[in-house]
Amino acid sequence: MWRRQQGRFRPVGCGVEELRRCRREREAALRKARREQQLVSKRLLRDSALEEAEGVAAILGEAEIQQFLRLAQQGTEGKQREKALVHLRRGLQHLETQQTFIRLEGSMRTLIGLLTSNQALLQLEAARCLHELSHSEQPAVAEACLPATSYLLTYLSGHSSDFIELCLYTLGNLIVESEAVRRQLLPQGIVPALAACIQSPHMAVLEALGYALSQLLQANEAPEKIIPSILGSAIPRHVLRLLQPGPKLSPGVAVEFAWCLHYIICSQVNNALLITHGALSTLGLLLLDLAAAVQRTEDAGLELLACPVLRCLSNLLTEAAVEAVGGQIRFGDERVVAALFILLQFFLQKQPSLLPEGLWLLNNLTANSPSFCTSLLSLDLIEPLLQLLPVSNVVSVLVLTVLCNVAEKGPAYCQRLWPGPLLLSLLDTLAFSDTEVVGQSLELLQLLFLYQPEAAQAFLQQSGLQALERHEEEAQLQHRVRALRETALHG
């Protein structure tokens, strides 16, 4: 189930090294885009097997486009008409053809006419043409597809799953194009249409729907203009249903809907509603399922699903409504902590950039929960936690924060923290140059000295004072350094 597969979407003809370089470059570009609040991506659905068979496509000129359209519309033989559209579709892979197409008068009208005709194969090819246009990097090209949206939405309540899948990916691409597009799609009834379509049993359709929905939810105006009506529909219940772990859980589908849930939750519109629908329980079970999957398989892209699940849980835990929750996962169930550590280990190996997100969840679990803090101790997880300290400053601060969560609960907890490797680790972190790391180390030391006075003695014996004195001049730290020195020396 969790196998990495050669996707349908994979660009043809890229070697492994090429892919890695591609990826590094694109990563940099995406970071930049996100900082500018311009992070927008589209999906292209192409049959790679078909593409290989068809060979390289040529750019089409005005006359050729007109000819193909005429043939498709008025040809006498079915096969001939279909072939004309295939030629057009292939030409539309090129930006130049796309631009020529939209400049031609009546071209979109004709294409829509073919899209809504009763010739099944023409319809499908016309939809593929539209899909290529929707994926265009030029806004003008994608926006030229607007007259087709009412039909795309209408077809969502049809029955041909291949066709619906195509319509959904096309819609998803158009949605993300601009607010103007969404301002048309919302009154056209995209939310009810999706709410009806999400009941489809076809996995490919559901994955496409999840994609389109995630695009809608990512919009800047979503918290005010879109999410309220989504929350008012049957969609959230279906999303949670589709995230239930079990033999029917499809990874591709789950990834899309987990991201949908993340965008809804982090918009803070009405998370209490999601909690009453059982979101915490579902997400908790999914976390357990992920940890189990991690243990079984080597490399499966699980981090793509783990990331949004962690975010959703962490954010939901900050809601007041959490306290009232029962359900299959009682929020105290220590399997959640066990699962989280298995995922942390997995991240360390495969995706260290996700460690902060995992530790954020651990913080939210342990902050107000004596039970979870006890679990950390009884499951012997302190030492593994300490092993994460060298990874990065951000990770260090989070690890130390979690340890503070445990220590601040009092002597019974600190007794389990020392003696042990903790003190040595703290002496190490005191040598860091990052002020925040050192600051958090000082906080932890204060708690430790307060509740476990013997620790102060051991600290002194290990040249702790010298470690402290290094930071005496630092404005952010000096008061705390002095206070600790006092405590250590005079009790």
Partner: protein, 270 residues
């Protein structure tokens, strides 16, 4: 990162909470100059904290990363023919057959053979075009329901409905599944479908040749020119005119009766 072996065992066991150790706090804990307070944190959408994960997500969308989804099975099968009476389209893949079937044979009106993209539109069509009771009721109450999924509004006339769909739902004025019903020719026998002065609107006039699909074995193939396209269709003018003017009582031997009809009837092939 070395995890205790008991952890995996714990995961496999049943649910359970740890019995919490007693919590006893000292007032000096976290007191100035110290500042620690255990608290849950949340991050908003645009927060920098989410940058790495978001970038990974978008790389996935753009397919720089391999997919986790399973490649769908598209088995090829030995050639077979569509089993619907009068259709002899041949297929060698289930997916294309499925699409063909749904476009042409499901959601087909058994009265006039027009095909619709969805059951919802088919139901509306049958109600508005083929149910005489509808016309009668429409004189007294708002019967024309908005065609947009999820909208419950009803209107007195199809024109009013169209205006609503254009204004409120930003639908195109020439939406193909809401075309006005053309009059059925001079001798509309039985007068069970009263033709009012204002051309009664129905919807669903599909491209020509929808129900007249002929075997693709060289015989005359229909040319489904999208209704609304003004270009003259070369080659098959006669056929087009023919499908427009079939009197309502002619049913190609299908035995459909006129008059009060249950609206449940649809896509039955006799």
């Amino acid at each position: 990162m070395l995890l205790p072996s008991a952890l995996r065992t714990r995961l496999a066991e049943g649910p359970g909470e740890a019995e919490p150790l007693p919590v006893v706090r000292h007032p000096a804990a976290g007191a100035a100059p110290f500042r620690f307070a255990a608290r849950r944190g949340r991050f908003s959408r645009e927060h920098e904290f989410f940058e790495d994960g978001d970038v990974q997500r978008h790389l996935y969308l753009r397919d720089v990363l391999t997919q986790v989804a399973e490649a769908p099975e598209r088995p090829r099968v030995p050639e077979f023919t569509c089993q619907v009476a009068g259709c002899c389209q041949v297929f060698d893949a289930l997916a294309s057959y499925e699409h063909h079937y749904h476009v042409l044979h499901s959601n087909v009106c058994s009265f006039c053979k027009r095909a619709f993209p969805s059951g919802h539109l088919l139901d509306s069509h049958i109600l508005e075009w083929h149910d005489a009771r509808f016309q009668i009721l429409a004189e007294r109450q708002d019967m024309y329901q908005c065609l947009v999924e999820g909208c419950e509004e009803k209107f007195k006339t199809s024109q009013d409905r169209k205006e609503h769909m254009v204004k409120r739902h930003l639908y195109p004025a020439d939406f193909r599944f809401d075309k006005p019903k053309k009059s059925r020719g001079p001798a509309a026998p039985g007068a069970t479908m009263p033709v009012s002065a204002k051309a009664p609107a129905g919807h669903g006039e599909q491209s020509e040749g929808d129900a007249m699909e002929v075997c693709s074995d060289g015989h005359v193939a229909p040319s489904p020119v999208p209704a609304g396209e003004s270009s003259a269709t070369p080659g098959l003018p006669g056929r087009r005119a023919y499908s427009h003017r079939i009197p309502a009582t002619v049913c190609f031997g299908q035995g459909a009766s006129r008059g009060f009809k249950s609206t449940k009837k649809r896509s039955k092939h006799h």
